[in-house]
Every structure is written in C-alpha cells, then in structure tokens.
C-alpha cells in the first residue's frame, strides 16, 4: 500500500443532518451500513419513528442517523436482541436527561 496525498483541497460545504435532512429507508440504510430489515425491526420496536405508513413511504428525520447507528453498534457489540437494544437506548435517554439536569445545575466536572 502506497500512501498518496492530495494537495490544495477546495473548501467543502455540507448540510447539517439533524436539521436539514430526511432519510428514506434505503438512504438511512446506506448511511448506517445496515439493511432495510434491520432498520424495519428497529421501527417495529419503537426505536426509530419514521413518518409515513408503508415502508416505501417512510421518512426518517435527521436525528434518526445517530440513534440508528447507536442501536446497530450496541446490538452488534453485545449480541443484543432488538427488544434489549430498545431497552438500553431508553435507559441511555434517561441518563442523558439526568446529565442535562446536572449541566443546568452546575455539577462540577461537566
């Protein structure tokens, strides 16, 4: 393998996923490197909540990217079922809410 380096790159402009992007099931699957069935299982368990009734009409908001990737990593790394993954994510949400409270109160070290 020979390292190759480009020089003088142009300035790149991106879009803020959480505020400007909606994903279809296929797009979210590509962004998470997951297949549609894995994501559909997360929807069925309530981990992801797209708008639209049928799978082909599903629209996921930008925050789904972080949640889906987190769910897929946890499920893979700990051999979790979809139900267990949902449970872990709910507990993580609770921890995050408590930590937000601590930040507001001025807990040391945060």
């Amino acid at each position: 393998m020979t390292p190759v380096t480009d020089t003088d790159p142009p300035l790149l402009f991106g879009v803020v996923v959480e505020e400007e992007v909606q994903f279809t099931l296929v797009e979210l699957g590509r962004a998470c490197r997951a297949d549609g069935a894995q994501l559909a299982a997360l929807v069925a368990e309530g981990v992801l909540t797209p708008s639209g009734v049928d799978e082909q009409d599903w629209q996921f908001d930008g925050t789904s990217l972080r949640r889906a990737r987190s769910a897929l990593r946890l499920a893979h790394d700990f051999d979790l079922s979809v139900a267990n993954t949902a449970f872990v994510l709910d507990l993580l949400d609770q921890i995050e809410a408590l930590q937000a409270r601590l930040r507001q109160l001025g807990a040391p070290g945060r």
């Binding site: 400007e20 490197r33 972080r66 700990f78």
Partner: protein
C-alpha cells in the same frame, strides 16, 4: 511497530479459556462502549478492547498471536517473517468493519498479523455501476466555532480499490466549512466525499460527526449554554454591573440586588445561534455562586464581626430547626 499485549488489554492470563476471553471482553466493553461510557478515553480504550477480542476470541488468530508472543519473549522480535502464516489456516470470517476493506481502526500490529488474510477473504466482488459506500468520521470543534463558524482541515485515510481491483491506502486532506450553529452530537453530510463508486457508480457521502472539545468554563445543553459566575456577597446583596464571559466575547450584565447563590440569569439569544434563519438562537444562563472573602487578617475578621452585629436577627438554619 508497537507490540500489543492483548491478554493485558483484557486483563486476563495467557492461560485463559475462550469463555474467560468472552467474559473479560464483555465486561470491559460494557464499561468503555462509546455509546454508553462517559470515560474521556472510552473510544480509544474500546478500540483496544475490540482489537484484543478479535485476536483472542478466534482460536485460529489466537494460536497465531500466541506464536508471535513466544517469538517476542525469546528475543527473536515479533515482526512476522514472510510466509509466517503458512502454518495457520484462516477461515476468513467477519474480521473487521462491515465495509469489506481493512478497518483503519486496527493498529499496525494487528494489520501486520491479520490484515492480509482479512483483506483477501472479505468483501463482495465489485459489480459494474456500484455506488460507493457512505463513510463516517469524527471532528472536534470548539464551542466558539459554533458561534462564529470555522474551517477545519480533516485528514482522511481510506483504502481504495483501483480498476484492477488492487487496494492502496489513500490519504486525503479535506478543507471543511463548519457552519455557524453546528453543535456537538450533530452530523455534517458532505455529498460525494465518501467511498468512490465502481464502474461509473456515484461516490458515497461522508458524514462528519461533530464533537465539542471539553471547555473549562461553559456547559452546553442543546442550544443553551451555562456558565457559573462567582460574585462577592455584597454584589449578590446590593446588585452589580458585571462583565460576563460568553463563548463569543464578553457582555455586560446586571446582577439584581437580593440575588441568592444558584440564581439563574438568562441572557436571551446569547446561546448557540440557529443553524438556519428560522431556528432561534439558544440562551446563555449565568448561574450565580457566592464567594466569601477569607477572614485571614484582623481587619477582615473585624468586618465579619461588624456584619454579625448588623445581622443579629439573621437565622441561617431556620429551615432545619424544629
């Protein structure tokens, strides 16, 4: 190349059983998993743990690794000689990322030992017109960058497959605009900057996950920003005009008379700005604390005694008295 003691990483003895390896890995993974852990070095530790587990949980890899450990101990060095792996069979299972390419998160040591087998055995054959994969990377920004916007140079190292199917490691330097209003935990999507397509297929996208660098003064909650402001007892009691540090310079603020410690004063719109025009800026909350001057001189002690005399009726423990 640094020698990796995978047994030490997992906190187990070389005589550990496969069940011991699994238990040790799971225990440490729960502690350091980046989605769960708040340890500052969680991500780096988790990578080490995962790599150690990849090497030791697979009996074929573990046997090969143990052989290298023996060489290392006997002073023969641990760089594997050419063809060293001929005595070991690798079934080429799921060895790394899901990309079918060498995982850049592996150490050089791991790649030297297992990289070649893993790279050869994995990955679908390239089809015509195949779109490139979406890639992910992390970028750290300062809180001030969220206020003002910034430019960040991002170095990306990724394997690339050429038309002949040969792989090379390619380093790209990306110059990225960090828009105002971008926050930690959010993602910036750069279209077409992911994996290259094959046979005329479109390139994938690059997702940059934004992370705020730790800040000694400010705490962030969504778009709202918090700072602790210590004031003197007389400033809290009598009110004061003070300069307050914000991530975007300092502003003048009035501390109202009769303020108690813990009082939150809101500076509307002085939090993180909205990323787009229709998103309002967050607020900056100044949380007051009261600093007491030391009574370490006779004059200071006299001042406290005068205060005690002036507030003879003050009952600080009224709330806990029966």
């Amino acid at each position: 190349m640094e020698f990796k003691d995978y047994y030490a990483t997992l906190g187990i003895e070389p005589a550990a059983t496969q069940a011991d390896v699994k238990r040790a890995y799971r225990k440490m993974a729960r502690k350091y998993h980046p989605d769960v852990s708040k340890e500052p070095d969680a991500e780096a530790r988790f990578k080490e743990i995962t790599e150690a587990n990849e090497a030791l949980s697979d009996v074929e890899k573990r046997a090969a690794y143990d052989d290298v450990v023996e060489r290392h101990k006997s002073g023969r060095g641990f760089n594997p000689p050419p063809g060293w792996d001929s005595g070991f069979e690798f079934s080429g299972g799921e060895a790394g990322g899901q990309t079918g390419q060498p995982d850049p998160s592996h150490s050089d040591f791991f790649e030297a030992l297992f990289g070649r087998q893993a790279a050869g055995a994995r990955g679908p054959r390239a089809r015509a017109n195949m779109a490139g994969g979406d890639h992910h990377a992390k970028v750290q920004i300062d809180l001030r960058d969220a206020y003002r916007g910034a430019r960040r140079s991002v170095s990306m190292r990724a394997p690339q497959i050429d038309a002949q199917g040969l792989m090379s490691l390619h380093t790209r330097q990306l110059d990225v605009n960090i828009p105002k209003g971008l926050r930690g935990g959010q993602h910036l999507r750069l279209a077409g900057q992911g994996g290259p397509g094959v046979g005329g297929g479109p390139a994938g996208d690059l997702y940059l996950e934004i992370e705020f660098a730790p800040d000694p003064h400010f705490r962030v909650d969504g778009r709202d920003v918090y700072i602790d402001l210590p004031v003197a007892p007389w400033e809290a009691a009598l009110g004061a005009q003070l300069d307050v540090l914000t991530p975007d310079g300092s502003v003048q603020m009035t501390v109202p008379a009769g303020s108690s410690p813990g009082r939150k004063l809101r500076l509307k719109g002085k939090g993180i700005p909205g990323a787009t025009a229709n998103v309002p800026a967050g607020d900056l909350y100044v949380v007051l604390s009261v600093s007491l001057p030391k009574a370490d001189t006779a004059a200071a002690q006299d001042a406290y005694r005068a205060m005690a005399k002036a507030f003879a009726d003050f009952q600080p423990r009224r709330s806990i008295e029966g």
